[in-house]
Structure formats: structure tokens, C-alpha cells
Subunit: 283 residues, 2 copies
């Protein structure tokens, strides 16, 4: 039995897990009713809503915000587009602040249209985040760089290992102000032979801002939308969580499952029930 039994207050639901079936208000109620302590909403759910009102609803429901998803991709084919991407992220950081989010999740983007220059995309990411740091610090919203699985290097994120993300943090914030760190998502990093070492490094440098859970299915039928529920795949979730917590991480354990053909087809209440059960038994 996991030591999470009876401790759903330590756990969070990333709303993507529910497939965006419900308006944000109902999602908040459902997550709170299921006993979770936190929620991680997406920007698309706040479109046409007041961040302040959503924030109040979340707090009234007794929840905190474990993270706000997610950044506009940074690398661009032109300077104008690059500047727009930065500005877009600045506004999102304002909303993250309004929500009291523990972090703003940075999925940094991949190659600009027509480019084969990964090194340049990575330079743009570094420069882009550098331009956001002061604003993030002023708003008290830590930026959580999320390394994405290497299979997304071209089209979603050119930061692909925890080591690379931490190297970037060190370059951007050598004095460890806490303004920039990492979000560790099991799906993206579980395979990495360097994982344990880098988790320890992240802990020592106070860079662990988020921890996302799901599972890797065999076979995986879709590169984006076939993540598994914890326990249904091959990831040693408990083992990684032990390292994360031994490194000093005291934040929420956030469930984030993209599953078009399975979990997204089920009612939110059922999905939340299974998440709660698995968190308390296999994580």
C-alpha cells in the first residue's frame, strides 16, 4: 500500500486528464468533490473567462493550483513572431499569478516552420525564457521548464532531457533565485538512464517545481494521445516518486493523462475515481 493512502490532498488533477469535456467551473467542482487537493488548469479553459473569478472558484472549492498549462511555443521563424510569442507568455504569466499557480509550465516549442536547426531553436528558447524571467519574478510565478520526450523534439519541445533542462536553468539563473526550475513528467523522462542523477541535481538546486504522473503503455498507439493510467503501463512510478521526494520535492503529485480513445471517453467522475484509486495503491 502506497503512503499516499488517504492523502489525496497531496495530489492534483491536470484538467487535460478529463479531456476538457466540462466547462472549467464544473471541472473544479468535480476535482474537489473527488477529494483532490489541487488542480492544474489549461489556458484554453480560461478563454472567455475572468482569471480572477476562476481563481476564486478554485479557492472556494478548497483547491490550490499546482501549475498553469502552458507556454506559447517560443522558437519562431521571424523576430516579429518571436516577440509575439514572448508577449503571449507574459500575459499568460499574469493569469498564472491571478490563479496563484505554483508554477507556469513551459513547453518550449520545437523547430520553427522550415527549419532544421535544433541548436538555433534551443538558443531561441534560452533567449526567450531569459526575457520572461524578470516578469515572472515580479509576478511571483516560477517558470517550470518541462523537458518533453525526444519524440516531440521537432514539433513540441526542443528541451528533451532533465539534464538539458537543468543546464538551461543554471545558465539562466545561476544564483538559484527560484524563478526558474523544472517540471518532471514521468511520461517524458522515465526512459532516461540519467534520471536519478538529474532528479537529485534538481533537488539540490531547488529546481523541482512540478511532478506529473501517468504511465507508458505497451504498445503505444498514438504518439500524443495514448498515455496510460498509473499502473496500466511499464513505468516504475513508485520508484521515481521515491527519488523525487528524497530530493526534497514537497509539491503536488499531478496526474496528467492524454488519452483520446480511452479515458477521455469516460465520464469525469469515473476518471477521477480511478485516478484516486491508483494514486493510493500503485504510486
Amino acid at each position: 500500500m502506497s503512503d499516499l493512502a488517504g492523502r489525496l490532498d497531496r495530489c492534483s488533477i491536470n484538467t487535460a486528464t478529463l479531456g476538457y469535456q466540462l466547462p472549467i467551473g464544473q471541472t473544479i467542482e468535480a476535482v474537489a468533490r473527488a477529494g483532490f487537493g489541487a488542480i492544474a488548469p489549461w489556458r484554453r479553459e480560461l478563454e472567455g473567462e475572468s482569471a480572477r473569478l476562476v481563481s476564486r472558484r478554485i479557492r472556494d472549492a478548497g483547491l490550490t493550483v499546482s501549475g498553469y498549462c502552458r507556454s506559447t511555443y517560443i522558437p519562431a521563424a521571424s523576430d516579429t513572431e518571436f516577440a509575439e510569442n514572448i508577449e503571449d507568455n507574459r500575459r499568460a504569466i499574469d493569469d498564472a499569478a491571478e490563479l496563484g499557480a505554483a508554477c507556469f509550465v513551459m513547453v518550449v516549442g520545437g523547430l520553427p516552420q522550415g527549419s532544421k536547426d535544433l541548436a538555433d531553436a534551443r538558443r531561441q528558447v534560452r533567449d526567450g525564457i531569459a526575457r520572461l524571467l524578470e516578469h515572472a519574478g515580479a509576478q511571483n510565478v516560477p517558470l517550470a521548464i518541462e523537458p518533453l520526450h525526444p519524440m516531440y523534439a521537432a514539433d513540441r519541445a526542443c528541451i528533451n532531457t532533465l539534464r538539458q533542462a537543468l543546464d538551461l536553468c543554471d545558465a539562466l539563473d545561476p544564483s538559484q533565485t527560484g524563478t526558474v526550475g523544472v517540471a518532471v513528467d514521468l511520461y517524458h523522462v522515465w526512459w532516461d538512464p540519467d534520471l536519478k542523477t538529474q532528479i537529485l541535481r534538481a533537488g539540490h538546486s531547488k529546481r523541482l517545481l512540478g511532478f506529473h504522473l501517468c504511465d507508458w503503455l505497451v504498445p503505444t498507439n498514438d504518439m500524443l494521445l495514448d498515455r496510460g493510467m498509473m499502473g496500466d503501463g511499464v513505468i516504475d512510478i513508485h520508484g521515481v516518486r521515491r527519488h523525487i521526494e528524497a530530493s526534497g520535492y514537497a509539491g503536488r503529485l499531478e496526474v496528467e493523462i492524454f488519452s483520446r480513445d480511452n479515458w477521455w471517453k469516460r465520464p469525469a467522475t469515473e476518471v477521477l475515481e480511478v485516478c484516486a484509486q491508483r494514486l493510493q495503491t500503485v504510486c
Copy 2:
């Protein structure tokens, strides 16, 4: 214009590129007729054939063998199965020797059925290759460990980066006898921020035994069978080849494309013609 213009003799065709449509004899003729200098056959093509006769046909056609594909997966759920896997690889090494292959390509295998213990699978791979080294040395067949893309960590290969493969080589063969090295396949490693450094390292330690080319398509519609023809994707192929050759690699440039819904549906002659054209213009 690439410096490969007029130098198809430096290039090899991995027979998987042709979708195994023809019997090995016809494949050998087609590859030779198209002007390539080498071929990399698969074990499935030698089933029911005499390795000695196939070897003679390859030589008679004026080709060499850039690599023999590929190892039986090593990690197993039981000691008996593990021993069988080793024995199977020993026999394949004998065939590689008969073919005069420049290397035996090691796709090492992932998690045994029911296991979530990647570290144990990796230990089994190390122990298994250690048991093959003497035989490989005696047969004069270098073992080329191929790091596979992290998306195959569970089911195909738990060696997932060039750094990890080279660490394994160093552990297995600290005195650099040449019996074990790596095959660098662009598809698996192109995303790696550490790639250039590790290619240099492989070159310095004389571990570069093979170099495989294809491209990464955006979008990729199948995790295994949707590789792109060089030039159709986002990999900076010429850039990586420059590093590989600057590191002292003088082996063949081997085209290996798994493409169920595109190239495998076309006649071998057409595929070979396009390979030849792209090698000479975009690689």
C-alpha cells in the same frame, strides 16, 4: 552539392529500406545495379538460405556488407530464456562472419514481459554482451550497439542514447580492442543535445562502427514504420555526417528506412533511385 556526388560506392542499402519485397538474391542484384558499394541484410532474409552462398552472391555482385541486422533481444524473464537469447546471438555472429559483415548490429531489447525494472534490463544487456565478446572477437565480427530512440525503451531497446551506449562500451571493453562499438542511426539520435560531443567521443575511442541514414517526418504517423527519405524531414543530415566523418568514421553510409505506407509500396528500383539521388544531393 554534396561531396557524395558520384560516390555511391561509399554508400550502403539496408535491405529493410526495400520492405523485404524481393528474395535476397534479387535484392543483391538490384542494389549492385543501382551503383551502391554495400548492402546490409537482415537475418530473416537468410532463413532457409546458406550464409556462404549469400555471401558469395554479395561478393560476386561487387558489394561488401556494411552490417548484419540484427541481434536477438537480450533481456529475459528467466535464466533459461536469457541463455537462449545469448546462444541465438552467437549463431547470428557466425553468419555475420560468413558474410564478412563490417559489424553485427545489436538492437538490445527492452523490458522483459511483466517487468518495470529498466535498470535490471540494462544490467542484463551488459552481462549478455559481455558473454558474446570473446566469440565476436574470435569470429572477427565487431558488435555495434545501436542506441534506439527513447520511444522504444520499453519494447525494443533499453539503450537509448549514444552516451549510454559508449559508457557500456567502456565498461565492456576498456582497452578498446575494437570488438565492441556503436552504430549511429540518425533516426534514433538526431534530437540529442549531447550528440556532437558523443560522436567525437566515439571517434576518439574508435567505436564508430556504423552510420545509418533516414529522416524524421513531421508529423510521424507510426512510431515504427513511418521513417522518411533523406531530405523529406527535419534532420540536418549533412551536419551530422560532417561530425561523424570529422571523427574519423570511414565506413559506409547506410540507408535504413522503415516506411510501410510510402516507400515499401514502391518498386525496389524506384526506391533505390531516390536513395541514390538524395544521398548525392542532401546528405
